[in-house]
Symmetry: C2
Subunit: 337 residues, 2 copies
């Protein structure tokens, strides 16, 4: 059994904790949280040992009537791997603590690639993380692009990828984000960070990315163009994508026109929190014009990295190869809409 600690119990941390608890080969040592808010209460209700992420704040939890199992250093000490899901920038400050206890750590995509030994995507470069001490699971968008580009590169060769990422302004719980009633080039300058971030997984891939922000909170949506080195038919590309376990091809008959219906579909399917771990590709959008492939895909920013974190835990501890790990993760979570 791999003993896993989660430092940070917000959007990503709570989902990874639930996923760890469902794995046949993992044990959740506990979760660490800075404040006794609604998420801390939920952790206790779930029966997860709760640790104070900041030692000085332990009395705040006591005052709120929330029982602590200890402070974060104790959690790190007893874990074989720590998943750091703290807000961007905080993780960098935690790195020395993980080194002190000689505990391998996973960081999230908001951290700088320079912080770690290797950036990780299960489909893209699983084996690169073997035995590493500091691994970054790339962001939701980079994960979505890596899953899509890996089979294309292997099967057809990629001459150049050009992606416009139309990004949700914030998550449903991020009440202070914008924009309202606007479409913002963001960043205005090129490239957006996504292209270079994909290159942390596929160093030699030619990719240009443009980012925009709009008043939506449910999912990101990518307008994808990939100039291939060969000219398969659209149907052949669709069939190739259908073999990938983390690409969900939305059939036309479902009449799903956007993220709202996708989330509704996920809720109806009994998914926890309506999470969608897979890339969602509109099947009818998959088109070939000469050697130019086009398609639309939606990416659930809150959850598509969850299975990737689980796979990264096995990759750093060398407990399974890519195929075994992805299969175990998929089966335990119920991936495959």
């Amino acid at each position: 059994m791999i003993t896993v600690g989660i430092n940070g119990y917000g959007t990503i941390g709570k989902r990874v904790a639930d996923a760890v608890a469902q794995q046949p080969d993992m044990e959740l040592a506990g979760v660490a949280k800075t404040r006794p808010n609604f998420e801390a209460e939920a952790a206790v209700r779930n029966g997860y040992p709760l640790f104070a992420a900041i030692e000085d704040r332990m009395p705040l939890f006591e005052e709120a009537g929330i029982d602590l199992a200890g402070s974060v250093t104790e959690l790190v000490e007893k874990s074989d791997v720590v998943v750091d899901a703290c807000p961007s920038g905080v993780a960098a400050q935690n790195k020395s603590m993980y080194e002190e206890y000689d505990t391998p750590a996973l960081y999230q995509g908001g951290e700088d690639a320079d912080l770690v030994d290797v950036s990780f995507n299960a489909r893209g470069n699983y084996s690169a993380a073997a035995g590493a001490s500091h691994v970054r699971v790339v962001s939701c968008n980079t994960t979505g692009l890596s899953r899509l580009l890996a089979p294309l590169q292997e099967q057809y060769g990629v001459e150049k990828a050009r992606i416009t990422l139309v990004r949700r302004g914030g998550d449903p719980g991020q009440t202070s984000r914008g924009p309202i009633n606007d479409i913002l080039p963001n960043p205005v300058t090129l490239p957006s960070h996504h292209g270079p971030d994909v290159n942390t997984i596929f160093p030699d891939l030619a990719i240009d990315t443009l980012g925009m922000k709009v008043p939506a909170t449910l999912m990101h949506t990518h307008s994808v163009n990939v100039t291939l080195e060969s000219t398969p038919t659209a149907e052949e590309v669709r069939d190739r994508f259908a073999e990938e376990s983390r690409l969900f091809l939305i059939p036309e008959r479902l009449a799903i026109d956007g993220a709202g219906k996708l989330k509704e579909f996920a809720h109806d399917a009994g998914r926890p929190r309506g999470d969608i771990w897979e890339n969602c590709l509109w099947e009818e959008s998959i088109s070939m014009e000469g050697n130019d492939l086009y398609l639309f895909q939606a990416i659930h920013q809150e959850s598509d990295v969850v299975p990737e974190n689980i796979d990264a835990i096995r990759a750093v501890t060398e407990q399974a190869d890519a195929r075994e790990s992805i299969s175990t993760t998929n089966e335990s979570l119920g991936i495959g809409l």
Copy 2:
């Protein structure tokens, strides 16, 4: 003087009427409206002769206390050119009336290209409309793309254009439109109608377009990629664009991040209704990667076709060549932010 009648006094019609009234070589014969709503009242307040677009409804105007100058057939008869700005589809029903009175007619971009002799963009194909009886001024997005692609094709050659159009869901006054809180591939299938529509202006241009809809009402925003046949620097392309009178390059120092601030800027500049007749290109976004040009541009859906309608009036009546007409239109309206 060219005597101009406007059939349809909504979003486009009222703007074209105002613009006609400002031209030194045109006279507004009047405007026709189906209903005595707030826009009909505004026409009368502006001193524009008001005609009933549907003869049976003339009593409704009387009941509302709005004086009519007659019915639409009288307007058509006394006009040298009619600008039809009726809702999409209605114009097709009006065509036989214009033919009956032998009055050349301009239609808007929502109509089918097959309805007319020629589709029109002042920068793209002005002279093609000379002496034509039925001319379609292409839509806001196609106008924006044509203005951008014309100088690129002339100066550098276009190998292929790939555009993602992130479209506002509706105009500010269209209270029954969506989406709310979503990003919709729209249409899901490729291409969107914009690419083929650009080909009505530039028949041989290779262009693929993808459309999306988002919860915004102010302007459309395009993520543009054009693979050029040569490799100018980004600065050279910027300088070339700066020579175009209907391309506004947003300087970085203005700190304009989206359509909200663009509209605010237009209002502060005293523009009627905050209209923005020019394409708005973010200067910092103009980038070259190899021979791939990238940029973002915003398009004001309610007004960028207004100067094009004015130029089309001169084109069909053969009263000026492209250079003269564009110059007169620009000067009279105050184009050039």
